[in-house]
Symmetry: C2
Subunit: 212 residues, 2 copies
């Protein structure tokens, strides 16, 4: 692409660095901003810069936070003794959007994946074990993506947490979110693994009806 | 979507205002920026704000410019007596990328479209007529999108320019870019209008071979 303005070119190049945004899309975005009020574009750029500069990670659960502790950990209305273990901040947002969970989180920052060189030390696992030792935890819910890496991570953590529980003479309930046929999905298109597991983990109908 | 950080939420909302970017994509972009170095994100936001604040439109051709006159109009190596009339800045970039044009441009800022309430007065047409009167123009090339609005605009401009030429006793060559079967396109999938016109405007083979 040939630009007759270096200001335009630089802006397009910056946008094109973002994931999934090519040069053509970047140009479209920049030309859109060019049509907007200067004040609005100033606000856009300020909000982005401020977000990166001021955002922090919760010292307890590693979720994004405006201060030292995130608003979920700081909320005394939420069950502090129930922890949902997730891979990323994105998963926290997805679960919060369901409005079905009233506990707290622990963001691992990834899952164990030896092929990618990610072991337990690269993740926020040490801190989770620490929380299990210090806090009075009743239940730990694993909400990891259903794949080999997720299952490996659950297996690893479950062993570690069982050891903590027995050392401290505690009983921590460890659960994982249900795998099964998605709502609105069709049986015939489900993969064998999912369909097989959803048969194994079938529920009494009265439970199903009362929940939905 | 539920966010536990207002800094994050604001940034996502700003990105989601851009065309073609929904909340999920906006979140992906923001989380990407969150992983980048603070300095780099600062640079990103600065380049965007600076672009909007400092960019100007060429006083002669209405292309984007870093100063009063764009780099194309200011370039004495380019044929200043050949003007390519285009709809938008995007078209200037597209034509520049072909490296097949060595003249200057005139950006109309749209095309005549009565249904959308866009008449000649909303476009940079007055200034084009003015250029035709003051400058020694040899050729005007219309490179507008091939649709009703584009053709209407060509018809309107051609009349105006013919009047200017006869008043000032000048001969301006007025052309339009070729319509036809796109390179790599297939005859059987071309619409009748395109195929019909490309038959009417057929070229001697020697011309075709010497150009490609």
């Amino acid at each position: 692409m040939q630009f007759s303005s270096s200001l335009l070119e630089n802006a397009v190049n910056e946008f094109a660095k973002l994931p999934g945004i090519g040069k053509k899309t970047a140009l479209r975005l920049v030309l859109h901003l060019l049509k907007q009020d200067s004040k609005e574009v100033g606000h856009f750029s300020e909000v982005i810069a401020r977000m990166r500069k001021e955002i922090r990670f919760c010292q307890r659960c590693f979720n994004v936070a405006d201060g030292d502790i995130c608003s979920i950990c700081a909320n005394s209305m939420r069950k502090q003794d129930v922890i949902c273990v997730v891979e990323s901040i994105r998963d926290v947002i997805a679960i919060e959007s369901t409005q079905q969970f009233n506990g707290t989180y622990h963001v691992l920052g990834g899952v164990i994946s030896p092929l990618d060189g990610i072991g337990p030390d690269q993740l926020n696992i040490e801190s989770l074990i620490h929380r299990a030792e210090k806090e009075e935890i009743n239940e730990l819910i694993f909400a990891l993506n259903p794949n080999i890496q997720g299952d490996t991570t659950i297996y690893y953590l479950q062993k570690k947490l069982a050891a903590v529980a027995s050392t401290h003479g505690r009983s921590i309930r460890i659960t994982t979110i249900a795998r099964g046929i998605a709502f609105g999905g069709e049986l015939e298109y489900a993969d064998e693994m999912t369909l097989g597991r959803s048969l194994q983990n079938r529920l009494p109908v009265e439970n199903y009806v009362s929940r939905s």
